[in-house]
Symmetry: D2
Subunit: 351 residues, 4 copies
Amino acid sequence: MSGNTFGHLFRVTTFGESHGVAIGCVIDGVPAGIRLDTAQIQHDLDRRRPGQSKVSTMRNESDSVEILSGVMAGVTTGTALAMLIRNSDQHSSDYENLSHCFRPGHADYGYFKKYGIRDYRGGGRSSGRETAMRVAAGAVAKQLLAFYGISLQAYSIRIGGVSAKNFDLSQVESNIVRSADPEVADAMIAAIRTAQSELDSVGGIIECRADGVPAGLGEVVFDKLDALIAHAMLSIGGIKGVEFGAGFAAADLRGKNNNDPITPGGFSSNNAGGILGGISTGQPIVFRVAMKPTSSIAQEQQTIDENGNAVTLCVHGRHDPCLVPRAVPVVEAMTALVLADMLLQNRASRL
Amino acid sequence: MSGNTFGHLFRVTTFGESHGVAIGCVIDGVPAGIRLDTAQIQHDLDRRRPGQSKVSTMRNESDSVEILSGVMAGVTTGTALAMLIRNSDQHSSDYENLSHCFRPGHADYGYFKKYGIRDYRGGGRSSGRETAMRVAAGAVAKQLLAFYGISLQAYSIRIGGVSAKNFDLSQVESNIVRSADPEVADAMIAAIRTAQSELDSVGGIIECRADGVPAGLGEVVFDKLDALIAHAMLSIGGIKGVEFGAGFAAADLRGKNNNDPITPGGFSSNNAGGILGGISTGQPIVFRVAMKPTSSIAQEQQTIDENGNAVTLCVHGRHDPCLVPRAVPVVEAMTALVLADMLLQNRASRL
Amino acid sequence: MSGNTFGHLFRVTTFGESHGVAIGCVIDGVPAGIRLDTAQIQHDLDRRRPGQSKVSTMRNESDSVEILSGVMAGVTTGTALAMLIRNSDQHSSDYENLSHCFRPGHADYGYFKKYGIRDYRGGGRSSGRETAMRVAAGAVAKQLLAFYGISLQAYSIRIGGVSAKNFDLSQVESNIVRSADPEVADAMIAAIRTAQSELDSVGGIIECRADGVPAGLGEVVFDKLDALIAHAMLSIGGIKGVEFGAGFAAADLRGKNNNDPITPGGFSSNNAGGILGGISTGQPIVFRVAMKPTSSIAQEQQTIDENGNAVTLCVHGRHDPCLVPRAVPVVEAMTALVLADMLLQNRASRL
Amino acid sequence: MSGNTFGHLFRVTTFGESHGVAIGCVIDGVPAGIRLDTAQIQHDLDRRRPGQSKVSTMRNESDSVEILSGVMAGVTTGTALAMLIRNSDQHSSDYENLSHCFRPGHADYGYFKKYGIRDYRGGGRSSGRETAMRVAAGAVAKQLLAFYGISLQAYSIRIGGVSAKNFDLSQVESNIVRSADPEVADAMIAAIRTAQSELDSVGGIIECRADGVPAGLGEVVFDKLDALIAHAMLSIGGIKGVEFGAGFAAADLRGKNNNDPITPGGFSSNNAGGILGGISTGQPIVFRVAMKPTSSIAQEQQTIDENGNAVTLCVHGRHDPCLVPRAVPVVEAMTALVLADMLLQNRASRL
């Protein structure tokens, strides 16, 4: 209930602070019989890890994951699957000067008001570091999905005001900003570096699509597939919006144009983003999320301390000038968690 | 798990089909001691009910609610509070011609694939009619919130391409489209009527704000306050996107401009929409949702029947040419459910 | 969370007070495609209803159930199935003299301390009347189980000190105390009538067995099948203990004698009660529950009022001198709910 | 859902196999502000650990626990608290000869039928080893409870047919069988050693009492306090029954004798075991559990292998001849988890 668990049948619980001993997760409900490819898990963690490129933070954590349980001779046993990553490259001293004031754009103020205590070192539990375990758990979910022919991919479609135009999804992982359009990758990188040089940061938009999702996933009324994905997306730090298919643009369409005609060969458009009435239709699931610019910036900002006094603060430390490229695998992971959960839950739909 | 329940400590379960015997809900977790104002519940139901104005469907259901349990001498007892609305003005025969084909833009296809059976009469469980019970439950939640000084209001800010510019929230309920800007209400109405006369429909955008929310609501990591609200919003039929504070526009801002400075007198802007790191900050919570145009339109559309044959279909019946005005109280209700749940859950945060 | 919901995938929420408007339930997660036999539901309700025999209360409620949703043309649709029973034969005035004091053996005191308010009329939510909806929901679960070849039966094995010796389960429903041994039924009846004539009450022991349960039901660690059944049993008012297989007697056995040998033809004994390590083994599931004597007795008892003053109280009204016979279908129903839930959940165990 | 999680607001998820890398747990919902005494956690683990006395297994695991998250400067932060114990003294080779056959009295058969795969090494996830993490989590719960004046203690009241008669709870931890009656401890020890010398094992009965529990804990209908405790108890491997207060003996009492009279000074007896209608009354909570004799015995037993062939099997390895003494802290821990959860949940009962 306190927020560290996601999902029902495929259920992930994560723990750990950015500057604590370790981060980890437990997945309850991994079906028995998956021949687990641990290299794939590490691969996704590497896609998320800091220090991976010149546009990411220079923190350098190897984020090598250890599987603690739930697997025997490489095959999942059906019991709780736990994974652990020890923290390593921490500079807690970077945060000493922040220990009594609230960083603008961060969870500091809310955590303090909520708990009366907070881990000021790198945000503690509210740090983006917790997303590593989402990625690890998502990588397990992806292997379950792959068994049933479901694949998914996320990619940047806008960074620092630069938009992808011609998508080539085969090239997403070949450019460091994970742009869907490799031709604008350099412009995106330039936007990030300019902001960084000005002690500032930029945001962007990520799109995610899932292919091979059978019709029928999602539950009625409150647990619609899009509702669960929206929940998953807004649970990622820095995400400020989500839209499915035509999204906000649908608000301006007429019904005739927005409805996707159905033909014997399938739907002839996909304004719905693959979900109607909360249930997957068999079309690709497509949605987008908006990510705000990194809150930690190395220029002066106004804030207050725990006693309510005005303070001028400058967030030093090693921060990503743009979180979008590293958030791409997190978006994939959270989508995978939702789909895995719905896939299992759908098994209970009929006699 | 099957989707008919929402929330944890303040937990609502709804039931009922549009053309069945009745719709209803059970709220588990209403704290004891609320002097329940049933007129307020009926008032919100009246704001949602069909037939309320010239821009809504002409179906005419009184939607009068009966409280079945959980209240004694007008005060909540802490036990399950159930409410019931008998269905009345149903024209099931309107749907006979649809009984074997899938309406474009509707849940029909997915439900059939999921369950192998579907209630074709008005969408059955997937009908917007189920939102009446969200409104009833939300009206109870609002009374809990009001006790703690929390109020909320939703309103239309865009319909059929017409945008609200100057907000006057005191006038929202004085115009039939619930426009935040009473001056553009007539233009919004005109956009709806034009579409209707062309056998078509329009969508729009609703904004919701909650005032008086204390800092500290929301849970860490997966149950962030914005994640839960996003879940709630996308669970409403026809909603295709949600954004908080600056929302999608934040993707184009620099960190310096997006961060809300904190001063001894409070935050000096609200790009965050009242939520940072998933926890409320004490500022007003502000978000927007995009609603697609009504899927049921009285002009010909291409679809298929249950055997996969091409069919041309025209959805007769009495449908809203624009769902936005009636969705406004539904958005409020779902927001109230989330806040009530988080308010109670927050009581467990500290010793 | 507040206790009105049971189960995960096959999940029942009940509501209603004994002297309120109605009692009802919502079952979320009934698989689509069950051809529902409503007469079977009513049959089980009749087995539980008051006024059914000379050893039960003389209250006479027909308890006729109305299905409100989730069924179309007699077949479950996969959506929430709601059922309602209007209350009828209430004598709330019987309770006026109890409105300010706490009946010994009842929930009155705890409810008052918990909620600061309580429905004194017949116990309100804590009344045994709520078990009617358990029976209704359990009757739906039984039909799901029957489809997979699982049947279950409960019966009295001890009442007022009289024990069943020779079991003939075909005769259980032929005697009004539902004794497993028809030969001692009269002695059990006599024990009840004697107690009643002395303004007192008696308790007893119910055994339940489930046949046809496949090996593999139940979940690891905390949701062992016996743990869930124990939860279900102790949630029934008046039940004070539960034991599986050899039960408390196992505490005195040696390992060699308690272990059930396994042979190519199956287990050669059933001290385990059909469950090992929390997982069903394919043997019959067998357990027993102890029911206390009815707390409401028509003789003077010492208690206190809401102000803490000593009061002498005599509980008039129409009470069962022994609850065991009417509890038999409740025990069956709760067992059916657990098994239905575990049956569906087990579908997620493997690839 | 898959059984590795217990509780709602104070919620524990455990993982790990007896012969895997490690065992661990995550507690979600520990309120912020508890000054955590880690020595107390280790103390309870030491009370449970193997090799602690001449009547326990000679396996010698130090079971030293590491706290991974959720605590800063010795105080809980409100975020997920994870704990880890690395496995050490494993003799997996002891189990090679068991790798293809099912040990009588163990979960082997059910797990194989459920998952199609099983970890034969020491029972894997079904091993009693998982209870170490229950004890660790329970020790945290105890510290929360202690803050509110709630204490609890479990003790052996019967082992191998020897019953405690005169209770002296101050001496429970001074004898190695944790007998409530120190005078019969030697007789209990003798019963265990005799069985052991005959390559056999014995069971027993544990009683637990909780003092200082305020009136009002527990939820209505399905989540009655006794239902949750029963769930908790039957989730412990080897427990075959549970009874509250007068328990099974209540089945033979008259209502007049079983009802606990209420006086201005409190209840004048405690047949209810401190719980009425599922809600605590403020009296001590008292219940007993029956534990079967250890299933692993070093004499020949009949069983089958995975192909269904008859096999004669002798379970070597280092097994406790009686699990009761080491189960005492497990019973306490599970009780503490229930009470902590109910304590937090009760905060939502009223305005």
